[in-house]
Symmetry: C2
Subunit: 364 residues, 2 copies
């Protein structure tokens, strides 16, 4: 099928760029002796997970048990659930996953640890566990210092669990360059301090897991890190470009849309809004801008309703007519992909593969 035959809106993945993104991350981690365990929240497609493993990833990361169940179909030897799993029925499902592949869970509370241990014993399976610490994002994770040691010891004491190490998410480090470098230095110091404390108590983590896409290619500067979990890097998006971690040439994703109205002066309406792109804003900016129009980057995707995108053409390089099809790079690809039933892998104008977004809506 040709791209021109697709109905819109349709989320396209440029396969040449996608493959280059896979290779670049794999080469980088190999070169620096880091293990790559990509977060699959970005794509939610088992086949893409398989391609990540094939290109050098040691395993995959998910947030939800439902995503873990889907990602089993990638054939991954290893799944990290980077999220506390709470609730008896979810834990039973996770045990079922653990019968089929190795499962490690990141958590930050004794409650989550205790119920995971109970499930492991009751279901006769084993789980790896990572103690999560907060390195500045202020989301989940205990405070770096004695609390990490206490949590690690508690995890070591529980039956059915195998303490594998520590984890953190440097999601507050958005920008590369000067600020990013000093953020990375601070992070390095924090991690080193915690590793020293653990070692003092005779605890040597197998895994020190961190990393995000904006900080991807600086991860080797963080002392003690053994593996990273970038997600967005497979496709990239406007926010990743803004973070300085890639250029628009590295964005594999764009959403093909149709112009459905030009009734208002200097404006066109495209057939995708918040239910196609998500309403995620540009990170670090108060400007209303929901994507980058490939055919005329001077246009501003300035507003949206659920199914309408408002594109201001005052500074656009050209004009468009009702029926024209254009491509828009979304701000946040993970949120956009999650709204589509299928994504289309394209090369040279041809749809080479259709991937069902099997993990979409697997919220539980």
């Amino acid at each position: 099928m040709q791209i021109s035959e697709l109905e819109t809106p349709a989320l396209l993945i440029d396969l040449d760029i996608f493959e280059r993104n896979l290779k670049r991350a794999a080469d980088y981690t190999r070169q620096h002796g880091l293990r790559l365990r990509p977060h699959t929240k970005t794509h939610k497609v088992p086949e893409v997970g398989r391609r990540q493993i094939e290109s050098g990833a040691v395993g995959l990361t998910v947030a939800k048990v439902g995503e873990a169940e889907v990602m089993l179909r990638s054939g991954t030897p290893d799944l990290l659930v980077a999220y506390p799993v709470i609730g008896a029925s979810k834990l039973r499902r996770l045990a079922e996953v653990a019968r089929q592949t190795r499962v490690t869970v990141a958590l930050d509370s004794e409650e989550a640890a205790r119920s995971l241990s109970t499930a492991a014993v009751e279901q006769g399976v084993g789980f790896g566990v990572l103690a999560e610490m907060d390195v500045g994002l202020g989301r989940v994770g205990v405070t770096p210092g004695p609390d990490v040691v206490a949590l690690a010891k508690f995890l070591q004491s529980l039956p059915g669990l195998s303490f594998e190490g520590i984890t953190f998410y440097p999601g507050h480090i958005k920008k590369a360059g000067e600020d990013g470098a000093s953020d990375e230095a601070r992070l390095s110091q924090t991690v080193r301090g915690v590793l020293d404390l653990l070692r003092h108590d005779g605890i040597v983590p197998n895994i020190v897991s961190g990393g995000s896409t904006p900080s991807l290619f600086d991860c080797h500067t963080v002392d003690g890190l053994t593996e990273i979990r970038p997600g967005t890097y497979v496709y990239n998006d406007v926010n990743t470009v803004v973070s300085g971690a890639c250029t628009f040439d590295d964005c594999a994703v764009s959403i093909l849309v149709t112009v459905v109205s030009t009734a208002r002066p200097n404006q066109m309406i495209i057939d995708g809004g918040s239910k196609t792109f998500s309403s995620d804003r540009l990170v670090g900016s108060t400007a209303l801008s929901f994507g980058r129009l490939v055919e005329a980057p001077g246009a501003v995707f300035c507003n949206m309703n659920e199914e309408h995108g408002y594109v201001n053409l005052e500074k656009a390089e050209r004009r468009f007519a009702v029926g024209d099809r254009v491509r828009m790079i979304p701000n946040h690809v993970c949120a956009a992909v999650n709204l589509h039933e299928n994504v289309y892998g394209v090369r040279n104008g041809t749809v080479e593969v259709t991937w069902q977004v099997e993990g979409r809506g697997k919220l539980q």
Copy 2:
């Protein structure tokens, strides 16, 4: 099944409130001689559409052909596609829908009209059409005045199309009360002016279609209006409360979530973020607030990532522990529902019905 047995996050619909909301809108429109044609974008569930028809709606509204295909299963006698349908393959699918129920399309361009007419003739079906005008939102629609007359005449001239009237969306009227009242008066004047112009050319529309949820119960004050298309009113949400159109007692929707971390002081993390609630902001406010916590309305849902909700507890009425389950009313129910595979109709603690969100992701 009891609510306590549901895995989280789970989108709950309080059936008592839902039924009251259906009845209130039906009673209001009946009382004022208006026809009710609810927009199904809010719920995307054929069975809910059927309930709307059963309680007095004359037909249903959709935005996309894919939604029209799904909503056929409601048994509706009539579907309004409140969106220009562009593209040969979509028009073929729409003709298929028109073989099964009466279909009317709202549009604002000669291009959209011409291709719809061509499809009608080629496929041997008929479509109703409405001329869309812009009454202030600045989205789609021609300018009220001679342009509406010109578009109406053009629509009358095309084979396969039956001109039914005019339509507009007063989405810029967000607030009831003083401002709202003067907005409604201006709208009335605009509509009256257009109807006069049309009448002068011998055109008498069968349908004058407007209405939205925030302005729902003021629609009778708009001269010449014959039908309204509210969507959100079935479930309501925080934004509808903020608009003044309902109270929290009228919100049928809440999302059941679990507390997964309390590691940071004065904060809890719930197991739903932008992939559960959408990242839609509070309308008319710059405050970051993504929902209302039923159990402690003083808490602030102040930040979110894809699967993490950050709830600031500084001003909360109580504290919560890991594993606690709480309910959060979303800002924008239409965007939230679209992220869930199923929603759960509940009454007295029991899950009475599970509705699959069949229209979810029907973007084309």
